[in-house]
């Protein structure tokens, strides 16, 4: 292709880019949606790119040149001069000054680290306490996210329901999943956890003991709770022991009871550490 022909192609690219830019403005004004505006502006940029790349590759003078590299390091004389200049800072008792200055620096650095403690928001409880307790208390009723109180009859066999302590619908670590199974299944010799159940309703912490994701899926056929993050699987009929996946501990069970008005209530705190394992006494 002759230079003239290439020039025409490059000019064609730039003209088409200008047309796309105009099209973009029109598309924007008439609100034609992301596909049209994004596509046209992208096409304009692509055409400019194409024009520039053609221009660079076919029209501009190129060629191979040789340049000597600069020497890797400055000359020794330069280095000596700098060392000497730095030496001008020396005074008779440099050792004493250096050590005390170092001490001051280290103390200052250590001192300014301390206010990092303020990153813990005002009013927050101590981490160890916050992690070891939730908002469940003996006799506290359960509410759904929408605020409805829960009775045992609200769940059919095979149903699940996410509940929170009454008045604490935002308490992430108190999120609890209710699962209703056939009470006869809980009388099997292999089944455990029947102690905290009411009419076949079992309650477990909803936070996966692996990475803290909410255990969002219930497979009714196998009575298993499944975490969508890393596929940990917990057996509801066996105290929510992990049966597959990376979780190393069972989902803590929340013992249930029924209050005098017939509402489901917690019969104490979770039995076990809620959420992912952290460094604490085993």
């Amino acid at each position: 292709m002759s230079d003239r022909a290439v020039e025409r192609w490059v000019a064609g690219c730039f003209l088409a880019a200008a047309a796309c830019a105009v099209g973009f403005v029109v598309g924007y004004v008439v609100d034609s949606g992301p596909q049209v505006t994004g596509g046209l502006l992208g096409a304009a940029c692509a055409l400019v790119a194409l024009g520039l790349l053609l221009w660079s590759a076919r029209l501009l003078p190129d060629g191979t040149f040789v340049e000597e590299r600069e020497p890797p390091a400055p000359t020794e004389a330069d280095q000596d001069a700098v060392t000497e200049a730095l030496g001008r800072g020396a005074v008779s008792r440099t050792g004493l000054l250096r050590r005390t200055f170092l001490l001051a620096g280290v103390s200052l650095a250590a001192a300014v680290v301390v206010p990092l403690r303020s990153l813990l928001s005002p009013g927050s409880t101590h981490p160890d306490r916050a992690l070891s307790e939730t908002d469940w208390r003996r006799g506290r009723r359960m509410q759904t996210r929408e605020g409805d109180l829960v009775r045992a009859g609200d769940l059919q066999i095979g149903d699940t329901l996410t509940v929170f302590p009454e008045g604490f619908p935002e308490a992430d670590d108190s999120a609890t999943v209710l699962v209703r199974v056939d009470p006869r299944e809980l009388r099997r010799p292999t089944a455990r956890g029947a102690a905290g159940a009411v009419d076949g309703i079992l309650a477990f912490s909803k936070l996966c003991t692996h990475a803290g994701c909410p255990v969002g899926l219930y497979e009714q056929e196998s009575r298993q709770l499944l975490c969508p993050c890393h596929q940990s699987v917990f057996d509801v009929l066996d105290k929510a022991q992990p049966v597959a996946g990376p979780a190393g501990r069972a989902l803590p069970q929340l013992p249930l009871a029924v209050d005098h008005q017939g509402y489901l209530v917690a019969d104490g705190e979770f039995q076990g550490q809620v959420g992912p394992t952290y460094w604490r006494h085993a």
Binding site: Y28, T37, G38, G42, E67, P228
Partner: protein
Amino acid sequence: MITRWVVRRLDDRLGVSPALRTGMNRVFPDHWSFLLGEVATYAFVYLLLSGTFLTFFFDPSTVKTVYEGGYRPLHGAEVSAAYASTVQLSWDVRFGLVVRQSHHWAALLFAGAVVVHLARVFFTGAFRRPRGVNWAVGVTLLLFTVVAGFTGYSLPDDLLSAMGLHVANSVLLSIPVIGTWLAFLVFGGEFPGAAISQRMYIAHVLLVPGLMAALIVLHGWLVVRRRHGQFPGLGRTETNVVGPRLWPARAVRSLGILFAVIALCLLLGGLVQINPVWLWGPYEPGAALGPAQPDWYLGWVDGALRLYPGWEPILFGYRLPNMFVPSVLLPGGTFLALYLWPVLERLWTHDRRPHHLLDRPRDHPVRTGIGVMALTFYALLLTSWSLDVISRYTGIPVFTLVGVFRVGVLTVPLLTGAIALVLARGLRDSGADRLSEMSWSGLRAGWRRRREEDTEVPTEPAPVADLEQPPAMPEDLEPVRVEPGPVP
């Protein structure tokens, strides 16, 4: 002449002519793989531009508001201001969705370009002296890339990113001794934490990009200062630089690449949906959705979390959290190995000389083998990131896949690494230019060398490039020397 006039005015005020002349005449070695860093830089430029646009519409507050916008199904829902403003800027701000999506695509592209660029520098030995400092700067940039990406996609306060934050919180909690305090200081309290949204916002729009911009400038300045390395070839020696000059062809091409990168981001942003947060829904305590994957540059950690078995041994009376190994030790070890690699290689080869001539991957078979092994390992971890999705499409039970990958991630890298080592040795010793030209005897020679060396102390010959006599300068190579001098 208008150019002459502009130059004179500029010189009167700034005196730029000598520097400009040196710059324009500067010779750069040329190879397609040297453009990867350029692509990354331009993706970063686009991230800054599109991100600035997004800050005008996004509100990081977690205060509850009632959504009333263009997305009908969410009408009347009580959501955080962060989530509402993200949906708003996607549905009601004209062109906002394109910018938001192209910003996300640009982040994926940027991380990809950074990783491929890192692989290029690794396999060609461009991290050796005098470029060790720049290698460390580059690894730090990769680290910040991951932080910038995570804090970015976690901002909208949607259900998917809330699950990511749950995991991040658990990662911090799993660190022995200091983990609980670290998690509480970062989040400002127990999950979800009152302060995390504001903190991620300021980290994402100011701290991390500010540091990255400074490091990118330093990275580029060191390349200019130390000059780019070049592949060995006709007339190329350790003491010269051979290639085209910056002005005009290379500069115009570079401008073309800038526009190409922006075009790619805009086309993807306009045509290919990414992270539709209105479909995920807002964060709600106790809610989850699946399948859930982080962005790809964190996928390898997520994959490791899926593969690592549920071990929680008791150490000194304390329970070691399961997540500590795959999500703290593995990434920590990965970055430590990256930072230390130039030192480790120097200790292994005893080669302390500066190198301006790059290796071809075959020139250093052990390095190439280790590199291929590492790439295979991380690629398999990244694949494990989507085992639930693979299971859904293939019908293979997910725990069968987990079992296969648990074995594969530990064995396949050894195999591919060994194959790469043998191939590299065969190529180096047979002198074949490319794989298709290598004969079976060349390949067998590579294999035998390996067997012999297994019984001896393995020694790697020093790279031969600078020992060779450079060929005589061909006549069409015009030496150019640029002397800065007084401007006429």
